[in-house]
Symmetry: C2
Subunit: 223 residues, 2 copies
Amino acid sequence: MAAVRTIRIEENVLADNDASAQAIRSMLTDAGTTMINVMSSPGSGKTTLLTALIRALQGEMRIRVMDVDIESALDAQRVADETGVEALQIHNGGLCHIDADMVARALAAYPQAVGDTDLLILENIGNLVCPAEFDTGAHKNVMILSVPEGDDKPLKYPLMFSVCDLVLINKIDTLSYFDFDMEAAKRRIKRLNPGAEILPVSARTGEGLDAVCDWVRRAVAQK
Amino acid sequence: MAAVRTIRIEENVLADNDASAQAIRSMLTDAGTTMINVMSSPGSGKTTLLTALIRALQGEMRIRVMDVDIESALDAQRVADETGVEALQIHNGGLCHIDADMVARALAAYPQAVGDTDLLILENIGNLVCPAEFDTGAHKNVMILSVPEGDDKPLKYPLMFSVCDLVLINKIDTLSYFDFDMEAAKRRIKRLNPGAEILPVSARTGEGLDAVCDWVRRAVAQK
């Protein structure tokens, strides 16, 4: 076995935004709105999956979406075009995450998302590192791991898997093509986060989508 | 078409690290070492592709690797085990990128990577946002886009595609499975970065690997 050495380089660039997040959460709870923060790598199928989920649920609850992107408005436009729900595109100026203060400013510009909405979906930027560090004020955190990314991702991005209430394993229609060990992935997630629910799903075929809808219904009912 | 509104939220969290990066680059050039910074999303097949590349080139040049990860040593160990080259695992304390000062500290702890090395590969953390902001001191920047991530990624992560000398489109063995338009991807990359080379490759089948080796040979010869 060849030599591997490890050195540790630390730096603290994170500000505490917990108080702002808690204030947002209380305001949304009082208004009867449940916010779900959805995180993933780029290309995990986040927008496609959210579109399928909104289509399945929009007959029974009022849904709005806030999409965070660096500069494009592709995701918000896609969600709006494909579902008819209102979507707010948030440009975060090239940052790698959204924090609670940014969410507060977005909500101030978008008052109908508070109170006139049962389910407010925050589609975070595609990134497995930074978004995990910032409480956005959401009631629930969801992350999407797609099969082509590999079953080792919980080992490499442990914080993201630790902060989630639900892990969706997406693109399960490609399981026969990729070397993805579902049991190993589940075991690695559970080791980091024993309370996390894990639901395999395919946005393309619809397999597993009913269970995801049920999870969202419970989250909305719990608020 | 449903309504989409856009608001802009900006914040400046970046420090200027260009002077440090330039000093690293000069030091490496003087020592005869070429550093290549490799960036991508999580799960793009970066480590697998680098391992294949090192195997193909290690008979003709001295190669060392520095792997940046949040806390695991999986990538460095895999590269070392599968190729026999020396690999340094850099833990960045949970940060989303590596900057020039961190590279300088890593090189100070790893002097054989300077001078006793022809090709020094910096395997950056899996992230399409933050690493693009920081000049690491590398001579060349390479990014890997994998087919399952989708051909729209240049539209959504434009800075990353703008700072690269070479874009590798990996996992082309899965093209028949995914809805990925190769010409659209190339056109979008070229619009952002007319000088970028674009090479399709499959680390799994080896297709396209020769052209990648040639590109690396030219980069090492140019220093």
